[in-house]
């Protein structure tokens, strides 16, 4: 029996971590420039935060890591954070609700059981939550922020797909489905189950036919429609003219957002069934893809905070999936000039004291200096710095230029390094 990591987990190697930190750095930088503040929530939360209706779908709840804590005799379970947004909403209610506007971001891991072995059970995400703003401006800002991060990362062919949670709900409600059925279909759409529409059509043929509304549209067909402009939504609105009172608010809100996005030159697709979402979404939902693979998504969740016991507070947010971004990002395209690394080698045991002192001086001056452990290949360094017992005390070798310099003091070494 060898040493092995737990099933469904992954290690991040030094190369992975370089990429990870680069992406994280770009993300943090963009968020700070837009005026967002970083927060971090605990890995453990109470299960009940996530079980209320309108938070996680039952199928996602069936995959959370929950257990009784060491003081769990009351029977209440804790979970390894299965989602990024709900803990932020909890934090807002608990500590930040005095603020009218909270612009928050975080880099965090989320845990969810996964059977196939294709994906990790621990996923990392870069998330942004904009709490307290309900306008289309907020939605457009989030989309622009997300696209800005991806652009800074040098990622191309980013596709933006838009949908609208309230519009889907209004459409489902319009077609004579029981509330329970509506809920079920909606949950399955959110879980990314694309077969649900086909199945609904076969189980309820009347939903696929053109006679299910007075104006003669079929639900499934409507949900499947795709468009590329606000014109599409306006057409949809015109189609329901006269019987669109339930759809009106959702459609108008959707059109406003889309028009603003158009005016700032953002390309998008409208795809109502573009799955994978959260039950807590209420308005705009968006998905970001590269070559068909989803790398992020977000949406509006105005009901979440009141549902969790907070005040009525509009909110929206998004997350970028770090694990997916790491696959697409190339370090070379982002990294600046390689730091000029220095290897300090002591000639004898007596020279070690000088080597460590010199390392500290070089670090303070902003240099990248390592003390020789006898195992570092010199080829990895630009400079070799030998610490000698006799004068000259320091010999500095520029490996690339094959030049040697002598120095008596640390000050002189710094001068030579420039």
């Amino acid at each position: 029996m060898g040493v092995q990591r737990a099933k469904g987990t992954q290690d991040l190697s030094p190369e992975d971590m370089r990429k990870f930190r680069l992406i994280e750095g770009v993300f943090r930088d963009c968020c700070l420039k837009w005026g967002y503040e970083e927060v971090r929530t605990p890995t453990l939360e109470y299960l009940h935060l996530f079980t209320s209706t309108g938070t996680l779908t039952p199928s996602r709840l069936g995959k959370v890591y929950s257990f009784l804590d060491w003081d769990g005799w009351s029977g209440e379970r804790v979970v390894l954070r299965p989602d990024g947004t709900i803990p932020i909403a909890r934090l807002y209610i608990e500590a930040l609700s005095a603020r009218k506007l909270a612009k928050l971001f975080y880099v965090t891991n989320v845990f969810s059981f996964e059977e196939t072995g294709k994906e990790s059970r621990e996923k990392w995400q870069c998330g942004v939550e904009l709490i307290g703003a309900g306008s289309t401006v907020a939605e457009v800002e989030l989309v622009l922020l997300a696209l800005g991060v991806l652009k800074q990362l040098g990622l191309q062919n980013v596709e933006l797909r838009l949908s609208h949670a309230d519009l889907i709900r209004a459409l489902l409600a319009k077609f004579g489905l029981s509330p329970e059925e509506q809920h079920k279909i909606y949950d399955r759409l959110l879980d990314g189950d694309e077969a649900v529409l086909a199945m609904t059509k076969s189980e309820r043929p009347e939903l696929g036919s053109t006679h299910s509304t007075s104006s003669g549209q079929a639900l499934a067909t409507l949900l499947e429609m795709k468009g590329k402009s606000s014109g599409f939504l306006k057409n949809l609105k015109a189609l329901f003219n006269g019987e669109s009172s339930e759809l009106e608010p959702a459609l108008s809100n959707f059109i406003d957002t889309v028009e603003l996005l158009e005016s700032v030159g953002v390309d998008y697709h409208i795809d109502l069934t573009s799955g994978r979402g959260f039950e807590y979404y209420t308005g705009l939902m968006f998905k970001l893809l590269i070559d068909g693979e989803q790398i992020g998504g977000g949406g509006r969740y105005d009901h979440l905070i009141p549902l969790m016991g907070g005040k009525q507070t509009p909110a929206s947010g998004f997350a970028l999936y770090l694990d997916h971004l790491m696959k697409s990002t190339k370090v070379g395209t982002l990294a600046g000039p390689q730091a000029q690394k220095i290897l300090i080698r002591a000639e004898s045991g007596a020279g070690l004291k000088g080597a460590f002192k010199l390392a500290a001086t070089l670090h303070e001056a902003g240099h990248n200096a390592e003390v020789g452990l006898g195992a570092q290949p010199p080829a990895n360094y630009k400079w070799l710095l030998d610490v000698r017992d006799k004068a000259p005390h320091f010999v500095l070798t520029d490996r690339s230029k094959r030049k040697k310099f002598e120095a008596q003091t640390a000050k002189e070494v710094l001068k030579l390094l420039g």
Partner: protein
């Protein structure tokens, strides 16, 4: 059938009909009877068949981990496993037509069953109790209970609502003891199950065809019963809880008679305990005390969560609880000195080790996982940790743990009085971990509560006086 095949068969309530089925199928099993002294059976017809008897609840787990190719158990226990571990490699082959029953989620209601909404409206946290904790949790998630706690029980779930739990998932008929079904959860019967790997790779045909002719015509597998269609709209009566009344839990099972003796010695009259009708609410003549009969195994948790102020259980179960929850408010008040047992570490007689250190060394040398089987999962886990067993796993069991050695476990943590059962199963004790007797336990918060403190002290004193002198004899 050249290769050895292994079958897990149930003890307990499914045994008579399973035995009769296998007799008709001509398996020729010797000793498959209630109270069997040997849990390993041979078949006259299939010489390569190894049969072992288990508690019904252990069978799906044993078949899933691949220790057995086939098993017979109730669908209820299969579904209980699958509700939590849906990826378990198990195939349900067919229903066997006997051992029928149903699982109901029940609550206390006045006339009609209360709705989930009515229950949710009454309490912040819904307490669910069951011997089927995974199915209970699945029910809670499916019904979107806002906030809930699931308490796994060893038994007596029907005795909990309404004061000790809002909902109980129970097997059997609803309607008893004023319990109303909120929802049907599952219709079950005995079924034949197979390990998925064995089903795909091994030739089980002779065994299967021997059974087939003796079974009722193939039935479609019963699916979980759908939720009741009739709306359950009744209200949920919240019991009046008198903040001063002391709630005392009395044990059922083996500890009943010594508890009874002690109570009568202390001059505490209790009507209908032990009950011949299964009544779990005996009437106490002790003023300001209400009593309920539950399993001793479940008591520490039920005292800790505040459902009871006092309980009579064993030190073994209190210890197991405190190892799981070190800062639990359940605490020992008095050693009642009855029901003496030793908690011991047990291995197979064939194993060349005499101590836990030797066992550790042997398994480390062979790079093997130590499989620890026990009803005391937390005591076992701590024992394994404290003894640095390295790679180990704890297999929770529901009785007849002796049967696990040597094939299905390497180490048992068991209780024993005389050690004779252990010796009879060709096992040996390598260490006594501690000794256990009956204890009066209490909730620290109740003891600190001014409204209850005095009464709790009085009851403790009455029992202490009844104990001495002369002290009850050790053992039985």
């Amino acid at each position: 059938m050249a290769k050895q095949l292994k079958v897990a068969l149930p003890k307990g309530k499914l045994l008579p009909e399973t035995a009769s089925l296998l007799e008709k199928a001509g398996w020729g099993l010797d000793g498959y009877t209630d109270g069997a002294r040997n849990y390993r059976l041979k078949s006259q017809r299939f010489p390569n068949l190894l049969v072992k008897m288990f508690h019904e609840r252990d069978i799906p787990i044993q078949v899933a981990v691949g220790n057995y190719d086939l098993g017979i158990c109730g669908l209820d226990w299969l579904e209980e496993l699958m509700a939590k571990y849906s990826a378990s490699p198990l195939v349900k082959l067919r229903n066997l037509g006997y051992g029928k029953g149903a699982l109901y989620m029940v609550a206390s209601g006045s006339k009609v069953a209360p709705s989930i909404e009515a229950i949710q409206a009454k309490r912040e946290i819904i307490r669910l109790v069951s011997e089927y904790p995974n199915l209970a949790e699945a029910f809670a998630l499916k019904n979107r209970l806002r906030r809930f706690s699931v308490f796994p029980l060893w038994g007596a779930a029907e005795g909990y609502p309404p004061e000790s739990a809002e909902l109980a998932l129970v097997a059997g008929k609803p309607g008893e003891q004023n319990l109303k079904p909120v929802s049907d959860v599952l219709d079950f019967q005995a079924c034949l199950i197979a390990n998925k790997n064995s089903w795909e790779r091994e030739d089980l045909s002779q065994l299967l065809s021997s059974l087939d002719v003796h079974l009722p015509a193939a039935q479609t597998p019963s699916l979980p019963a759908s939720a009741r269609k009739e709306p359950s709209s009744g209200s949920y009566p919240v019991p009046d809880v008198d903040g001063k009344v002391i709630r005392l839990a009395l044990p059922d099972g083996h500890q009943q008679s010594p508890t009874c003796q002690l109570m009568s010695k202390a001059g505490i009259r209790i009507d209908d305990y032990p009950s011949t009708t299964g009544n779990r609410r005996p009437v106490s003549h002790l003023e300001g005390v209400s009593m309920k009969v539950i399993r001793p195994q479940d008591m520490p948790m039920q005292v800790a969560n505040g459902n009871f102020d006092l309980a009579i259980t064993g030190k073994d179960w209190l210890t197991d609880h405190l190892y799981q929850f070190p800062s639990s408010p359940a605490t020992e008040l008095l050693d009642l000195k009855f029901a003496w047992v030793r908690i011991v570490a047990v291995v197979s007689k064939e194993l060349p080790v005499e101590s836990i250190a030797e066992l550790r060394q042997l398994y480390a040398e062979r790079s093997l996982t130590v499989r620890v089987a026990s009803e005391y999962t937390n005591i076992s886990d701590k024992y394994a940790r404290d003894n640095h067993l390295g790679v180990y796993k704890v297999i929770p069991t529901w009785g007849a743990t002796e049967a696990f050695l040597p094939e299905d476990a390497d180490l048992l943590i068991e209780n024993t009085e005389t050690g004779s059962t252990i010796a009879r199963h060709n096992l040996k004790i390598i260490e006594t971990i501690f000794e256990s007797t009956g204890r009066l336990i209490g909730n620290k918060n109740s003891i600190d509560n001014p409204a209850k403190a005095k009464r709790i002290r009085e009851i403790t004193e009455i029992l202490r006086k009844a104990l001495a002198p002369p002290p009850l004899a050790k053992g039985d």
